[in-house]
């Protein structure tokens, strides 16, 4: 009995949680009981939801476990960087879990999602328009709307709508397709409109993310190599023109190739990130013992560098592997499903998640140019965390349906 308990992955979650928060408790001077309280509340939330899922057979058990491990690491890191952010993130986690159940129920018990193709596109367009009209600029991107004292990022919501829209198109059986224009051109057109909006908001990361997701899904569902090639060619040309015309992009590329050339200005962020990663070594400095606060934006885009500094490259690799297992579970769920809307949603959300993770991680370690997007489930931020939980709820529901069909 004991051995089998230890073998269960949920024990790992408990261990990481207890270790992280006890360490935080002992290194943060003066010690505050709040630290332990934060750890306990996250653990309670995670464990309760996990038990809920596994007891009631609500689909895949591992997706949520992986996510709660990521959230635990994220909150621990945030508490260490800035206490108030850690506390706020616990609140967002609570909201995220509520949203998770809501999304789960909606996806599981409501059947009309596959028929709302133009509603998704319309909603997205509306959100884009609202951002352009009322948006405020934070960190160089005009992509935030302030709503009742909280800032929120509409493009995070549009990500999900975008996947649903594509799923409506590609997930529809070929025999049922009607209309004069082939769906692949409709999808292409809508994607380009979305990308145009994103470019107008200076959201380079999101633009790339949408485009990559579109490319991957089109590759999977359409037998049209010419279309893919044309797309890649067109965007390369646009990219080249953009590179020459827009100093935003030029600077990103330049500070990727050689951030040391302009270290005090454009290369500052990325070099601070590299210093953090290098100073962590393989084993890390230990929670509370590094200086991640030197990195600008460390609580959102650059949280991975802080993880590497204090938990070491090995800690960083563990986080990467968590994302990897998540993607693997997502793909596995999709593979088990019969062709259709839900399969496409599962693939779409998983791919989106995987590419976003790679883009931001690759950016902060200087493997690829830096694009400002958040690290799902770990970075601080309400809209990012909550919408990630919406995606998770949807995947969870799809996996439950599969199990029902399979049994």
């Amino acid at each position: 009995m004991k051995v089998s308990m230890l073998k269960r992955p949920v024990i790992m979650l408990v261990l990481v949680n207890v270790l992280a928060f006890v360490l935080l408790y002992s290194y943060r001077m003066p010690p505050s009981a709040n630290t332990l309280l934060i750890g306990a509340s996250i653990l309670t939330l995670s464990a309760a939801t996990y038990l809920m899922i596994s007891r009631n057979h609500l689909g895949d058990e591992y997706l949520f476990l992986i996510v709660s491990m990521l959230v635990t690491i994220g909150v621990a890191m945030l508490c260490r960087i800035k206490y108030a952010l850690g506390i706020a993130q616990v609140g967002w986690y609570l909201i995220g879990i509520c949203v998770f159940y809501a999304a789960y129920a909606a996806m599981r018990y409501v059947g009309l999602w596959r028929r709302l193709k133009w509603a998704y596109a319309g909603m997205s367009a509306l959100l884009f328009a609202a951002t352009l009209a009322f948006g405020v600029t934070i960190n160089g991107s005009r992509n935030w709307i302030i709503l009742g004292g909280h800032s929120f990022q509409p493009s995070e919501v549009i990500k999900i709508l975008f996947v649903f829209f594509i799923a409506c198109c590609y997930g529809q059986p070929k025999t049922e397709r009607r209309g004069k224009i082939s769906v692949k051109y409709i999808v292409t057109g809508v994607t380009y409109v979305f990308m145009l909006f994103l470019i107008m908001q200076r959201e380079w990361g999101m633009t790339l993310l949408f485009f990559a997701t579109y490319l991957v899904l089109t590759y999977i569902y359409e037998n049209d190599k010419l279309l893919l090639l044309g797309n890649v060619l067109l965007t390369s040309v646009v990219g080249l023109v953009g590179y020459h015309a827009l100093w935003h992009i030029r600077i990103r590329i330049a500070s990727w190739i050689n951030p040391w050339a302009d270290i005090s200005n454009t290369g500052y962020q990325i070099t601070q990130s590299l210093f953090a990663i290098a100073s962590g070594g393989f084993f890390g400095k230990g929670i509370g013992l590094g200086n991640p606060e030197f990195i600008p934006e460390v609580h959102s885009d650059f949280i991975f560098s802080a993880i590497c500094e204090e938990m070491g490259i090995l800690g960083g690799v563990a986080v990467i592997l968590l994302y990897f297992i998540f993607v693997y579970r997502g793909v596995k769920i999709a593979l088990m499903l019969p062709e259709g809307f839900e399969k496409c949603v599962a693939v779409g959300l998983t791919v989106l998640f995987g590419i976003q993770t790679f883009m931001i991680l690759g950016g902060v370690v200087k493997l690829i140019p830096l694009t400002g997007i958040t690290l799902p489930f770990v970075s601080y931020g309400g809209s990012s965390l909550v919408t990630s939980f919406v995606s998770l709820g949807i995947l969870q529901a799809i996996s439950a349906k599969r199990r029902l069909a399979g049994d």
Partner: protein, 462 residues
């Protein structure tokens, strides 16, 4: 079909994630240390401020550099600027200050992994092999001349003195005041001549040519030296075109006959000389406590005239003063070059040694028999040859002079580099010295040998 493509996409994403892991590992292994040491890394200075940086001491415990109230002080101003370097919040760190930064801050690999020394607020003190009395004597003896003095114990590799001139004051206030002048000065005072300066070694290289000759059965050669010789269309002259008559190899070495050595060089060819030179460490780099420039022997100069020029240390041959001191060490130490080092050990606040160098062989340059033969020739050089200016009563000195042509000689006269390498006592060598004066316009025997003699005297006086 769709499932197959989904699996392909999964493979692609897996590849991306694995490349992330691979890159992180690669980054940490290859770039990590360099990036950490970057002067722009605030962490270092942050850590510095909480730790009292360790001091530098000479071999007898004299304090050469120390920290007080977060500031770095160099007790002897410019004297160790090309050995210890500087540690500055503005200009970064150089030389030993950079290389041994971790120890100076009290960090070691193991303690760092396990965060064992969180509370220790003092760094480790580093004791050098340098003898402060000899170092300051050598620097004074060079005076205002540009050049270098290197003194090494050939049996152990301990560097006893390492002087490069011109030098500069490494104290931070002085750096701030003089930085522009230092970087723009045509004399390049920031260049460490002894370790980074590359010069044609001239006739001091005949030590290595002789090694190649002995190894290739040319020990019994005799020469009818008429003062100049034409090889492959190029004319080579003795110093002052002096004709030496019929001489053997030993005499040719002692008199530094270019006639004899150019003839030998043409016979040997650059390949054989090059293989001897590489055993002395040419075209190789080794891990010295200060970054060294690599001495160069051009392996592709294969024609007769080229080989003849290489045999007398000219052509595209380049060597650092430290390297030529090592060549003398090879002769002194039965053909073995011990790995030179500057930092002997590090001690913590309670005097315990936390780091200690292990003396080790760097290269076997030649056999012990050949080393004995060349030692004989070097003794003869001091007794009756070109280096009589370095005779010391009661001590047998072995030496080799050199006067090398360089790029400036094409434009003006009297710009030769003067060289002298030597060791003493010949029966039981304790110290090897190399003296180099750049663009001095004099001969090695005339300018450098007396300086070396005085340094040896100073050393044996104690």
């Amino acid at each position: 079909m769709i499932n197959k493509r989904i699996i392909r996409v999964l493979t692609l994403i897996s590849f991306l994630f694995v490349s992330l892991i691979g890159y992180l590992t690669y980054f940490q292994l290859t770039r990590g240390e360099d990036i950490l040491q970057s002067p722009y890394n605030k962490r270092q200075w942050e850590y510095d401020d909480t730790v009292k940086r360790g001091s530098f001491l000479d071999r007898n415990g004299k304090v050469l550099a120390y920290s007080q109230d977060g500031k770095r002080f160099y007790s002897f101003g410019a004297l160790y600027s090309h050995v210890i370097g500087y540690n500055s919040n503005i200009y970064g760190r150089t030389m030993l200050e950079a290389r041994f930064n971790k120890l100076l801050l009290g960090r070691r690999e193991l303690t760092e992994v396990f965060n064992l020394n969180i509370d220790s607020k003092t760094g480790y003190d580093l004791t050098l092999t340098v003898d402060h009395a000899l170092q300051s004597y050598a620097a004074n003896r060079l005076g205002g001349k540009n050049g270098s003095v290197v003194a090494i114990n050939p049996k152990t590799g301990e560097v006893l003195a390492l002087v490069s001139k011109p030098d500069f004051d490494p104290n931070e206030d002085a750096l701030i005041k003089n930085w522009n002048d230092l970087t723009e000065d045509e004399q390049s005072p920031l260049l460490a001549r002894a370790t980074s300066g590359l010069y044609p070694p001239g006739s001091t290289f005949k030590i290595i040519t002789t090694t190649a000759a002995l190894e290739n059965g040319l020990a019994a050669e005799t020469f009818d030296d008429i003062g100049s010789v034409t090889i492959g269309g190029a004319v080579f002259e003795n110093f002052g075109k002096k004709a030496n008559g019929v001489i053997d190899l030993k005499k040719a070495f002692a008199l530094s006959s270019n006639f004899a050595y150019c003839t030998l060089g043409a016979k040997l060819g650059s390949g054989r000389m090059g293989s001897a030179a590489e055993r002395f460490g040419f075209n190789k780099s080794f891990d010295f406590d200060i970054d060294m420039n690599q001495s160069k022997f051009p392996m592709n100069d294969t024609d007769e005239a080229g080989s003849a020029a290489l045999a007398i240390g000219q052509g595209k041959l380049l060597a650092t003063p430290v390297h030529m001191a090592l060549a003398a060490c090879a002769v002194a130490n039965d053909g073995v070059i011990m790995k030179p080092y500057l930092v002997a050990y590090a001690t913590n606040a309670s005097g315990g040694r936390v780091y200690e160098v292990r003396q080790q062989q760097l290269y076997r340059a030649m056999s012990a028999e050949n080393a004995a033969k060349i030692k004989d020739m070097m003794v003869e050089t001091v007794k009756s040859g070109t280096a009589t200016a370095s005779v010391i009563r009661g001590v047998t000195v072995a030496g080799k002079t050199g006067t090398s042509e360089n790029e400036l000689l094409n434009q003006m006269k009297d710009k030769e580099h003067a060289w002298y390498v030597c060791f003493a006592p010949a029966e039981d060598p304790q110290i090897a010295v190399a003296v180099m004066l750049e663009y001095s316009g004099g001969s090695g025997g005339g300018l450098c040998a007396p300086i070396a003699r005085d340094i040896l005297r100073q050393y044996f006086k104690k």
